[in-house]
């Protein structure tokens, strides 16, 4: 059975993919559908969902719906970019450790273990606070705390593949280390890494929302976590201010997880251990 056939048989994964496409559409269409700045006051404050504002307005009369559209951009951007960074760091560390083994492996793994031991979210908070909140510092903070599981996975894959006969055959054939790592080993190690990466996008979005909730978001860009955090003082009276952005986070994260699991089932007929969240 081809990859697509088995992926499409998974109803959850298909639904997830559809939702994800919709969120992407939200993000892409935001500048056109809501061409104004989402930070602008657009009418009376604290209007419930209805006539004037489809999803209500906040304490400063800002449009919640516009915030949700624009917030999708931040969530997706940070989710994807910080995952890419984390995967690159993790794969490099893990590949070097697993392929060369010995002392290199020892040092790389102690380093990874250290980063896995320290409380990751606390470190992320510290990093963003110290580097001053902004897209770049959030991406750095999230990548710094999320690469260790990738490194461990990449290492174990490389370690297992390193001693597979086809890799040793390449060594005997005189193929260079670089070509072996990228041409022989990495393509075979990629499947579980891709699956883990897909789930990490979801975790990154959750982490970003928590940072923004705590007031550590990019002050120039509206984000879903920020919207909930900012409305905390009035959330008892204005439920829509926390419910809608929260739903947006929840649905996006759920969709990504469903897609990730679909990938896992389609690419790994033999169930592997679930990736670390």
């Amino acid at each position: 059975m081809s990859f697509w056939q088995s992926f499409l048989r998974n109803r959850g994964a298909v639904a997830g993919l559809a939702v994800l496409a919709a969120v992407l559409l939200l993000a892409l269409s935001a500048p056109f559908l809501f061409s104004f700045d989402p930070w602008d006051t657009r009418g009376a404050p604290l209007q419930p969902p209805g006539e004037g504002f489809a999803l209500g307005s906040d304490m400063l009369g800002r449009d919640v719906l516009a915030g949700i559209f624009h917030g999708a951009r931040v969530s997706l951007f940070i989710g994807v970019v910080s995952t890419v960074f984390a995967v690159v760091i993790g794969v490099v560390v893990g590949a070097v450790a697993g392929y060369f083994g010995g002392l290199v492996d020892d040092v790389a793994m102690r380093f990874t273990e250290f980063f896995q031991t320290i409380p990751s979210f606390v470190l992320a908070v510290l990093l963003v606070a110290i580097l001053t909140p902004g897209l770049a510092s959030i991406v750095i903070a999230i990548s710094v705390v999320t690469w260790p599981p990738v490194a461990r996975l990449a290492r174990s894959e490389f370690l297992a593949l390193r001693h597979r006969a086809f890799v040793e055959a390449a060594v005997l054939s005189g193929v260079s280390h670089i070509r072996i790592i990228f041409g022989e080993v990495l393509p075979n190690a990629l499947t579980p890494i891709v699956i883990m990466a897909s789930l990490m996008v979801a975790t990154a979005i959750l982490t970003e929302s928590a940072l923004s909730f705590l007031g550590l978001g990019d002050p120039n860009r509206i984000s879903w976590g920020y919207m909930i955090g900012a409305a905390r003082a009035v959330f008892r009276h204005a439920w829509w201010l926390s419910v809608f952005p929260g739903l947006a986070i929840f649905v996006t994260v759920l969709a990504i997880n469903l897609v990730g699991e679909g990938l896992n089932d389609a690419l790994n007929p033999h169930m592997r251990r679930r990736t670390d969240p």
Partner: protein, 326 residues
């Protein structure tokens, strides 16, 4: 003998990790914009160069970096983590007085997660591909995808504001009831929402993890042997599948300790729980880096201690570990 070796090895490892964290902490202090001098200067309004130089000399900030690092490490070892930029109180004291509340919250959430999550996972695995499994799997997926702070807010809206069942904020009522027992119950009532909020996310994780590990273990040869021996199904599940599926769960629980502390920052902020997470949030608002670093160090120590417990448990649960060559 073996346990002594383990203890010795662990102590060395823990010391190295903590030393690395202290060094990391020091680097972060240096990265932070401004220093004690500028902060104090900003507060007292006396921003002249002379004052800055004097304050820096007082705090040793004019000395070369390695010397400062040595001093810093020495200070941390004697539990001197400096003073808060704001309150001028030793941050170690501030953290220590808040620590019990956080331990109560995270401990309860952890026990709740560990009590409920694996049980649900086992149930799902035993009923794999049947309605109970679907229900648990979907519920786990849902709670796994919800931001903790959002769940907390929804719980407050529903259980406190709408139903009025449980208090939404703090750890004690404004006027605590008299009597030991009544006070304990009062704290317990305050504890329910934050602990469940924080715990649900991990319930979801443990349920998913346990289900996966159970199904994977169920396919192994020794489970077939157990069936070939004519054991009743419950015995196959408990003694052979679950007993072995537990091992990755324990490993994972150890790795999760750090996450739990992170979640506590968010949960304590939402529920105004007076722990170190809440302290961190306040420090964050006031850019009180010294305090923030102390919270980081304290949580790191807690995590290292917790990892020790899970390592120990794993050795008990899996006799193969440490046996080879030991």
């Amino acid at each position: 003998m073996r346990i002594l070796l383990f203890l010795g090895g662990w102590l060395v490892k823990a010391a190295l990790i903590l030393l690395a964290i202290v060094v990391l902490n020091f680097c972060l202090v240096r990265l932070a914009p401004g220093d004690v001098a500028t902060v104090l200067a900003g507060e007292s309004g006396a921003a002249d160069a002379d004052f800055l130089a004097r304050t820096r000399a007082e705090f040793g900030l004019d000395r070369p970096l390695p010397a400062q690092l040595a001093t810093y490490v020495g200070n941390v070892l004697s539990l001197d983590l400096g003073v808060s930029y704001r309150t001028r109180r030793p941050v170690a004291d501030m953290v220590l007085e808040r620590l019990p509340a956080t331990l109560l919250l995270t401990g309860t959430a952890f026990l709740f997660a560990l009590g409920v999550g694996p049980a649900l996972g086992v149930l799902a695995a035993v009923k794999a591909r049947r309605p109970a499994d679907s229900l648990i799997t979907v519920a786990a997926l849902v709670f796994y995808a919800m931001p903790i702070f959002w769940v907390g807010l929804l719980f407050i809206l529903f259980f406190s504001v709408t139903l009025g069942w449980l208090p939404p904020f703090g750890m004690r009522s404004l006027i605590p009831p008299s009597g030991e027992l009544a006070r304990a119950i009062d704290v317990a009532r305050h504890l329910v929402l934050p602990a469940v909020t924080l715990g649900l996310f991990y319930v979801a994780i443990y349920a998913r993890l346990t289900r996966g590990a159970m199904l994977e273990t169920a396919g192994l040869d020794y489970v077939k042997t157990a069936r070939a021996k004519g054991l009743p199904e419950w015995r196959v599940v408990t003694a052979h599948i679950l007993r072995n599926a537990m091992l990755p769960i324990i490993t994972f629980a150890g790795l999760q300790a750090g996450h739990l502390v992170g979640g506590a920052i968010v949960a304590e902020t939402v529920f105004a729980w007076p722990g170190i997470g809440r302290l961190a949030f306040d420090a964050l608002l006031q850019r009180d880096y010294n305090l923030l670093l102390a919270v980081f160090l304290a949580s790191a120590v807690a995590v290292v201690l917790f990892n020790f417990v899970t390592d120990l448990l794993l050795r008990i649960a899996d006799p193969r570990i440490g046996a080879a060559g030991g």
